[in-house]
Symmetry: C2
Subunit: 149 residues, 2 copies
């Protein structure tokens, strides 16, 4: 039997978070942290709302997941995030020792891969899950923003 809780399933949940960010006028990036097929944290970008450049979806999701687990480390967890993490978020993931990162769209300019941020040696990476949907919501956001200005 196929496991219904695959990467696509959880990326869709991250996309729902990105939609929530979009509706608030935030750059639409969403994230969930999953542990044993269960979502233990969900977050979306809140940099405008909180007036805080550190309030990326991933940062909040890490904090929230650690709080849920009662331990700082997330070795048994997977981060699903709609956009490739930046240096800050990839750097944070190093400290969490997260088991796996699954991201949707690549960020050619400010993504950690181009900028060569070091991940934790135990962190596995999966790229491009629902990449088109994850990319589309970003494009839609920036087109709408341009038209408003």
């Amino acid at each position: 039997m196929q496991n219904p809780f695959d990467d696509t399933y959880f990326m869709k949940r991250a996309l729902q978070e990105a939609e929530m960010a979009f509706e608030k006028g935030e750059v639409p990036v969403g994230a969930v942290v999953v542990c044993k097929d269960k979502i233990i944290a969900r977050a979306h970008n809140l940099t405008e709302t909180l007036n805080d450049v550190t309030a990326h979806a991933e940062m909040q999701a890490f904090t929230s997941a650690a709080d849920f687990l009662g331990g700082k480390y997330l070795m048994d967890c997977t981060l699903y995030v709609t956009l490739e993490p930046c240096q800050m978020c990839a750097g944070a993931s190093y400290w969490t020792q997260i088991g796996k990162i699954v991201f949707g769209a690549s960020d050619e300019q400010r993504g950690y891969e181009k900028l060569k941020t070091t991940l934790h040696p135990k962190t596995e990476v999966v790229r491009g899950v629902l990449a088109e949907d994850c990319s589309k919501i970003m494009k839609r956001f920036f087109i709408e923003k341009r038209n408003l200005n």
Copy 2:
């Protein structure tokens, strides 16, 4: 007349924060953010207390400084931090567009310089201010920790 508010003056304030971390059993790293010779944020590492690997002194100081200024960007500010920032904190500094980073001790293993994190092009860096004092408190911490275990 000599300006009493030089890098050494503010690094001493960051060291006071590191001492506060030490007393709480936290890795003793302290930071202040200065804007026009005025400290607008102070923080120390709270990763153990908050059970959160993202609670580095710098991250809290950025959040707090932006909150004080009512704007997300810190172009006119200087971060003083006792230890060279890690990838996460240097990555966060990129987003803040901070004007200047002054650090004390180098972190040969996990500092952003060795790991080649990209800073904002407008960020100036000054290294090694009170480096010996900043390094000493770290060594003292790890020696005490080793003796307790």
